[in-house]
Symmetry: C2
Subunit: 147 residues, 2 copies
DNA sequence: CTTGATGTTTAGAATGATTCTAATTCTGTA
DNA sequence: TACAGAATTAGAATCATTCTAAACATCAAG
Protein backbone atom coordinates (compact mmCIF):
# COMPACT_ATOMS: atom_id res chain seq x y z
CA UNK A 1 0.00 0.00 0.00
CA UNK A 2 2.92 2.33 0.54
CA UNK A 3 4.11 3.18 -2.92
CA UNK A 4 6.92 5.26 -4.29
CA UNK A 5 4.17 7.53 -5.49
CA UNK A 6 2.91 8.15 -2.00
CA UNK A 7 6.38 8.59 -0.55
CA UNK A 8 7.25 11.02 -3.28
CA UNK A 9 4.05 12.93 -2.80
CA UNK A 10 4.82 13.22 0.87
CA UNK A 11 8.42 14.32 0.34
CA UNK A 12 7.27 16.81 -2.26
CA UNK A 13 4.56 18.34 -0.12
CA UNK A 14 6.85 18.59 2.85
CA UNK A 15 9.51 20.25 0.74
CA UNK A 16 6.91 22.70 -0.56
CA UNK A 17 6.32 23.82 2.99
CA UNK A 18 10.01 23.93 3.84
CA UNK A 19 9.73 20.88 6.07
CA UNK A 20 11.90 17.81 6.31
CA UNK A 21 11.03 14.31 5.35
CA UNK A 22 11.46 12.10 8.39
CA UNK A 23 10.84 8.43 9.11
CA UNK A 24 8.17 9.32 11.63
CA UNK A 25 6.23 11.44 9.16
CA UNK A 26 6.55 8.72 6.56
CA UNK A 27 5.32 6.01 8.89
CA UNK A 28 2.35 7.96 10.16
CA UNK A 29 1.28 8.78 6.62
CA UNK A 30 1.83 5.20 5.56
CA UNK A 31 -0.20 3.86 8.47
CA UNK A 32 -2.99 6.18 7.49
CA UNK A 33 -2.96 5.08 3.87
CA UNK A 34 -2.94 1.44 4.85
CA UNK A 35 -6.50 1.44 6.08
CA UNK A 36 -9.81 2.75 4.99
CA UNK A 37 -10.98 3.43 8.52
CA UNK A 38 -10.59 6.77 10.29
CA UNK A 39 -8.06 6.16 13.01
CA UNK A 40 -7.42 8.41 15.98
CA UNK A 41 -3.98 9.69 16.91
CA UNK A 42 -3.84 7.08 19.60
CA UNK A 43 -4.72 4.24 17.25
CA UNK A 44 -2.09 5.38 14.81
CA UNK A 45 0.40 5.56 17.65
CA UNK A 46 -0.19 1.90 18.41
CA UNK A 47 0.12 0.90 14.77
CA UNK A 48 3.27 2.88 14.09
CA UNK A 49 4.88 1.73 17.31
CA UNK A 50 5.37 -1.78 15.95
CA UNK A 51 7.56 -0.38 13.19
CA UNK A 52 9.27 2.26 15.29
CA UNK A 53 8.98 1.42 18.97
CA UNK A 54 10.65 4.62 20.13
CA UNK A 55 8.10 6.96 18.58
CA UNK A 56 6.10 9.03 21.04
CA UNK A 57 2.45 9.97 21.07
CA UNK A 58 3.40 13.62 20.90
CA UNK A 59 5.25 12.94 17.69
CA UNK A 60 2.22 11.25 16.19
CA UNK A 61 0.22 14.37 17.02
CA UNK A 62 2.95 16.53 15.54
CA UNK A 63 3.14 14.47 12.37
CA UNK A 64 -0.61 14.52 11.91
CA UNK A 65 -0.65 18.27 12.33
CA UNK A 66 2.06 18.51 9.72
CA UNK A 67 0.23 16.22 7.29
CA UNK A 68 -2.95 18.21 7.69
CA UNK A 69 -0.99 21.39 7.12
CA UNK A 70 0.43 19.93 3.90
CA UNK A 71 -3.08 18.99 2.73
CA UNK A 72 -2.22 15.30 2.57
CA UNK A 73 -4.63 14.39 5.33
CA UNK A 74 -7.93 15.67 6.58
CA UNK A 75 -8.77 15.98 10.25
CA UNK A 76 -12.24 14.58 10.68
CA UNK A 77 -13.04 16.36 13.78
CA UNK A 78 -15.00 19.22 13.41
CA UNK A 79 -14.90 21.48 16.34
CA UNK A 80 -11.94 21.58 18.66
CA UNK A 81 -12.77 23.03 22.01
CA UNK A 82 -15.92 23.05 24.05
CA UNK A 83 -19.36 22.10 22.80
CA UNK A 84 -21.64 25.01 22.01
CA UNK A 85 -25.41 25.10 22.32
CA UNK A 86 -28.15 26.86 20.43
CA UNK A 87 -31.90 27.07 20.90
CA UNK A 88 -32.51 27.60 17.16
CA UNK A 89 -34.47 24.55 16.12
CA UNK A 90 -35.00 25.51 12.51
CA UNK A 91 -32.87 23.50 10.08
CA UNK A 92 -29.72 25.51 9.79
CA UNK A 93 -26.04 25.22 9.11
CA UNK A 94 -23.25 26.84 11.08
CA UNK A 95 -20.64 29.22 9.81
CA UNK A 96 -17.42 29.55 11.80
CA UNK A 97 -15.62 32.80 11.25
CA UNK A 98 -11.91 32.05 11.16
CA UNK A 99 -11.03 35.56 12.25
CA UNK A 100 -13.38 36.22 15.10
CA UNK A 101 -14.22 32.69 16.17
CA UNK A 102 -17.90 33.59 16.01
CA UNK A 103 -20.48 31.04 15.00
CA UNK A 104 -23.37 32.21 12.84
CA UNK A 105 -26.54 30.36 11.93
CA UNK A 106 -27.20 29.93 8.22
CA UNK A 107 -30.77 29.11 7.19
CA UNK A 108 -31.15 25.98 5.12
CA UNK A 109 -34.07 25.53 2.75
CA UNK A 110 -35.74 22.14 3.06
CA UNK A 111 -35.10 21.52 -0.62
CA UNK A 112 -31.35 21.72 -0.10
CA UNK A 113 -31.51 19.28 2.78
CA UNK A 114 -33.35 16.86 0.54
CA UNK A 115 -30.70 17.20 -2.11
CA UNK A 116 -27.93 16.64 0.39
CA UNK A 117 -29.73 13.64 1.75
CA UNK A 118 -30.05 12.27 -1.75
CA UNK A 119 -26.30 11.67 -2.07
CA UNK A 120 -26.51 8.83 0.43
CA UNK A 121 -26.14 5.43 -1.20
CA UNK A 122 -28.95 2.89 -0.77
CA UNK A 123 -29.24 1.42 2.67
CA UNK A 124 -28.04 4.55 4.47
CA UNK A 125 -30.57 6.31 6.63
CA UNK A 126 -29.57 9.56 8.26
CA UNK A 127 -31.28 10.84 11.35
CA UNK A 128 -29.43 14.13 11.27
CA UNK A 129 -27.31 16.23 8.97
CA UNK A 130 -24.77 18.73 10.18
CA UNK A 131 -23.25 21.27 7.80
CA UNK A 132 -20.39 23.45 8.92
CA UNK A 133 -18.83 26.22 6.89
CA UNK A 134 -15.55 27.76 7.80
CA UNK A 135 -14.22 31.02 6.44
CA UNK A 136 -14.74 34.75 6.55
CA UNK A 137 -18.02 36.45 7.27
CA UNK A 138 -18.95 40.08 6.71
CA UNK A 139 -17.86 42.26 9.61
CA UNK A 140 -20.37 44.69 11.03
CA UNK A 141 -17.90 46.62 13.16
CA UNK A 142 -14.19 47.07 13.11
CA UNK A 143 -13.50 45.06 16.24
CA UNK A 144 -14.34 41.45 16.82
CA UNK A 145 -16.96 40.39 19.30
CA UNK A 146 -17.10 37.10 21.13
CA UNK A 147 -18.12 33.60 20.02
CA UNK B 1 -36.98 37.33 26.37
CA UNK B 2 -38.24 34.68 28.76
CA UNK B 3 -41.91 34.38 28.01
CA UNK B 4 -44.72 32.29 29.39
CA UNK B 5 -44.63 30.60 26.03
CA UNK B 6 -41.08 29.48 26.48
CA UNK B 7 -41.59 28.40 30.06
CA UNK B 8 -44.65 26.45 29.07
CA UNK B 9 -42.87 24.85 26.17
CA UNK B 10 -40.11 23.77 28.50
CA UNK B 11 -42.47 22.42 31.15
CA UNK B 12 -44.42 20.61 28.47
CA UNK B 13 -41.41 18.99 26.86
CA UNK B 14 -40.02 17.94 30.19
CA UNK B 15 -43.35 16.43 31.16
CA UNK B 16 -43.45 14.57 27.86
CA UNK B 17 -40.23 12.87 28.81
CA UNK B 18 -41.35 12.22 32.36
CA UNK B 19 -38.93 14.78 33.74
CA UNK B 20 -39.44 17.48 36.30
CA UNK B 21 -39.46 21.20 35.76
CA UNK B 22 -36.79 22.71 37.97
CA UNK B 23 -35.45 26.24 38.49
CA UNK B 24 -32.05 25.15 37.19
CA UNK B 25 -33.45 23.80 33.94
CA UNK B 26 -35.54 26.90 33.50
CA UNK B 27 -32.63 29.23 34.07
CA UNK B 28 -30.28 27.43 31.73
CA UNK B 29 -32.89 27.41 28.99
CA UNK B 30 -33.67 31.05 29.64
CA UNK B 31 -30.02 32.00 29.49
CA UNK B 32 -29.72 30.22 26.19
CA UNK B 33 -32.74 32.00 24.72
CA UNK B 34 -31.46 35.34 25.90
CA UNK B 35 -28.64 35.52 23.40
CA UNK B 36 -28.09 34.79 19.78
CA UNK B 37 -24.54 33.56 20.29
CA UNK B 38 -23.61 29.94 20.84
CA UNK B 39 -22.44 29.75 24.43
CA UNK B 40 -20.48 26.92 25.98
CA UNK B 41 -21.53 25.13 29.14
CA UNK B 42 -18.98 27.16 31.01
CA UNK B 43 -20.25 30.47 29.67
CA UNK B 44 -23.80 29.53 30.57
CA UNK B 45 -22.60 28.56 34.03
CA UNK B 46 -21.25 32.06 34.56
CA UNK B 47 -24.43 33.69 33.30
CA UNK B 48 -26.79 31.53 35.33
CA UNK B 49 -24.70 31.87 38.46
CA UNK B 50 -25.70 35.50 38.89
CA UNK B 51 -29.33 34.41 39.23
CA UNK B 52 -28.67 31.25 41.19
CA UNK B 53 -25.25 31.42 42.83
CA UNK B 54 -25.43 27.89 44.21
CA UNK B 55 -25.77 26.18 40.85
CA UNK B 56 -22.91 23.91 39.90
CA UNK B 57 -21.17 23.38 36.58
CA UNK B 58 -22.19 19.74 36.64
CA UNK B 59 -25.81 20.82 36.86
CA UNK B 60 -25.41 23.08 33.86
CA UNK B 61 -24.05 20.10 31.93
CA UNK B 62 -26.92 17.97 33.18
CA UNK B 63 -29.52 20.57 32.24
CA UNK B 64 -28.05 21.00 28.78
CA UNK B 65 -28.09 17.27 28.23
CA UNK B 66 -31.72 17.23 29.31
CA UNK B 67 -32.65 20.12 27.01
CA UNK B 68 -30.95 18.46 24.08
CA UNK B 69 -32.76 15.25 24.90
CA UNK B 70 -36.07 17.13 24.89
CA UNK B 71 -35.23 18.65 21.50
CA UNK B 72 -35.38 22.17 22.84
CA UNK B 73 -31.71 22.83 22.24
CA UNK B 74 -29.13 21.69 19.75
CA UNK B 75 -25.58 20.79 20.69
CA UNK B 76 -23.34 22.44 18.17
CA UNK B 77 -20.45 20.21 18.59
CA UNK B 78 -20.06 17.76 16.14
CA UNK B 79 -17.83 14.98 17.21
CA UNK B 80 -17.39 14.09 20.83
CA UNK B 81 -14.26 12.12 21.44
CA UNK B 82 -10.93 12.05 19.71
CA UNK B 83 -10.18 13.58 16.35
CA UNK B 84 -10.03 11.16 13.45
CA UNK B 85 -7.91 11.47 10.36
CA UNK B 86 -8.38 10.38 6.77
CA UNK B 87 -6.14 10.51 3.72
CA UNK B 88 -9.09 10.74 1.31
CA UNK B 89 -8.69 14.15 -0.28
CA UNK B 90 -11.65 13.94 -2.64
CA UNK B 91 -14.56 16.09 -1.56
CA UNK B 92 -16.60 13.82 0.64
CA UNK B 93 -18.97 13.82 3.55
CA UNK B 94 -18.83 11.59 6.58
CA UNK B 95 -21.48 9.22 7.78
CA UNK B 96 -21.39 8.17 11.43
CA UNK B 97 -23.12 4.91 12.12
CA UNK B 98 -24.94 5.27 15.43
CA UNK B 99 -24.83 1.54 16.07
CA UNK B 100 -21.27 0.59 15.24
CA UNK B 101 -19.53 3.93 15.69
CA UNK B 102 -17.97 3.48 12.26
CA UNK B 103 -17.27 6.46 10.02
CA UNK B 104 -17.86 6.04 6.29
CA UNK B 105 -16.87 8.36 3.49
CA UNK B 106 -19.69 9.53 1.25
CA UNK B 107 -18.74 10.91 -2.15
CA UNK B 108 -19.99 14.39 -2.87
CA UNK B 109 -20.57 15.59 -6.43
CA UNK B 110 -19.10 19.00 -7.11
CA UNK B 111 -22.51 20.23 -8.18
CA UNK B 112 -23.93 19.54 -4.74
CA UNK B 113 -21.12 21.39 -3.07
CA UNK B 114 -21.87 24.38 -5.26
CA UNK B 115 -25.50 24.25 -4.27
CA UNK B 116 -24.65 24.02 -0.61
CA UNK B 117 -22.27 26.90 -0.95
CA UNK B 118 -24.97 28.93 -2.64
CA UNK B 119 -27.03 29.16 0.56
CA UNK B 120 -24.47 31.51 2.09
CA UNK B 121 -25.71 35.10 2.27
CA UNK B 122 -23.69 37.78 0.52
CA UNK B 123 -20.39 38.60 2.16
CA UNK B 124 -19.77 35.10 3.47
CA UNK B 125 -16.84 33.26 1.97
CA UNK B 126 -16.27 29.67 2.99
CA UNK B 127 -12.90 28.03 2.72
CA UNK B 128 -14.23 24.63 3.68
CA UNK B 129 -17.50 22.79 4.05
CA UNK B 130 -17.98 19.85 6.35
CA UNK B 131 -21.04 17.64 6.06
CA UNK B 132 -21.74 14.99 8.65
CA UNK B 133 -24.56 12.51 8.53
CA UNK B 134 -25.58 10.46 11.48
CA UNK B 135 -27.76 7.38 11.40
CA UNK B 136 -27.83 3.79 10.32
CA UNK B 137 -25.77 2.32 7.51
CA UNK B 138 -26.18 -1.01 5.79
CA UNK B 139 -24.44 -3.81 7.64
CA UNK B 140 -22.30 -6.18 5.65
CA UNK B 141 -21.83 -8.75 8.35
CA UNK B 142 -23.72 -9.64 11.47
CA UNK B 143 -21.08 -8.33 13.87
CA UNK B 144 -19.76 -4.83 14.02
CA UNK B 145 -16.22 -3.95 13.02
CA UNK B 146 -14.19 -1.09 14.37
CA UNK B 147 -14.33 2.65 13.74
C1' DC C 1 -48.70 14.77 57.43
C1' DT C 2 -45.09 11.02 57.57
C1' DT C 3 -42.59 7.75 54.70
C1' DG C 4 -40.46 6.06 50.97
C1' DA C 5 -39.05 5.94 46.20
C1' DT C 6 -37.23 8.43 42.84
C1' DG C 7 -35.57 12.35 40.49
C1' DT C 8 -32.16 16.34 40.98
C1' DT C 9 -28.50 18.89 42.41
C1' DT C 10 -24.03 19.45 44.19
C1' DA C 11 -18.81 19.51 45.00
C1' DG C 12 -15.09 17.49 44.00
C1' DA C 13 -12.51 13.73 42.04
C1' DA C 14 -11.48 11.24 37.85
C1' DT C 15 -10.97 10.76 32.89
C1' DG C 16 -9.13 11.37 28.50
C1' DA C 17 -7.66 13.92 24.43
C1' DT C 18 -4.60 17.20 23.41
C1' DT C 19 -0.90 20.63 24.06
C1' DC C 20 3.12 22.34 26.29
C1' DT C 21 7.88 22.22 28.03
C1' DA C 22 12.46 21.45 28.20
C1' DA C 23 15.89 18.49 26.96
C1' DT C 24 17.90 15.65 23.40
C1' DT C 25 18.80 14.17 18.74
C1' DC C 26 19.15 14.88 13.92
C1' DT C 27 20.36 17.10 9.39
C1' DG C 28 22.08 20.19 6.14
C1' DT C 29 25.32 23.38 5.30
C1' DA C 30 29.28 26.55 6.32
C1' DT D 1 33.84 18.99 12.08
C1' DA D 2 30.60 22.26 14.14
C1' DC D 3 26.72 25.13 14.35
C1' DA D 4 21.83 26.49 13.65
C1' DG D 5 17.53 25.23 13.04
C1' DA D 6 14.27 21.41 12.72
C1' DA D 7 12.30 17.36 14.83
C1' DT D 8 11.57 14.10 18.38
C1' DT D 9 10.85 12.66 22.97
C1' DA D 10 8.90 11.83 27.82
C1' DG D 11 6.41 13.56 30.91
C1' DA D 12 3.84 17.32 32.97
C1' DA D 13 0.02 20.40 32.36
C1' DT D 14 -4.49 21.79 30.58
C1' DC D 15 -9.18 21.71 29.99
C1' DA D 16 -13.79 20.01 28.73
C1' DT D 17 -16.46 16.66 30.27
C1' DT D 18 -18.15 12.75 33.07
C1' DC D 19 -18.46 10.21 37.26
C1' DT D 20 -19.36 9.49 42.19
C1' DA D 21 -21.46 9.74 46.35
C1' DA D 22 -23.90 12.45 49.29
C1' DA D 23 -27.50 15.80 50.21
C1' DC D 24 -32.00 17.60 48.76
C1' DA D 25 -36.53 17.94 46.88
C1' DT D 26 -40.89 16.23 45.36
C1' DC D 27 -44.66 13.23 44.62
C1' DA D 28 -47.78 9.45 45.81
C1' DA D 29 -49.52 6.22 49.15
C1' DG D 30 -50.91 5.16 53.49
Amino acid sequence: MITTENSDALAQRLADSGLRSTPQRGLVYEALLKTRDHPTADELYVRVKSDLPTISLATVYNCLETLVHCHLVRAVNFERGPTRYCPNLQPHAHFHDDDTGETHDIDLPASLLHQVNAVLPGGYHSSSIEIIFRGKSPHRRASATKA
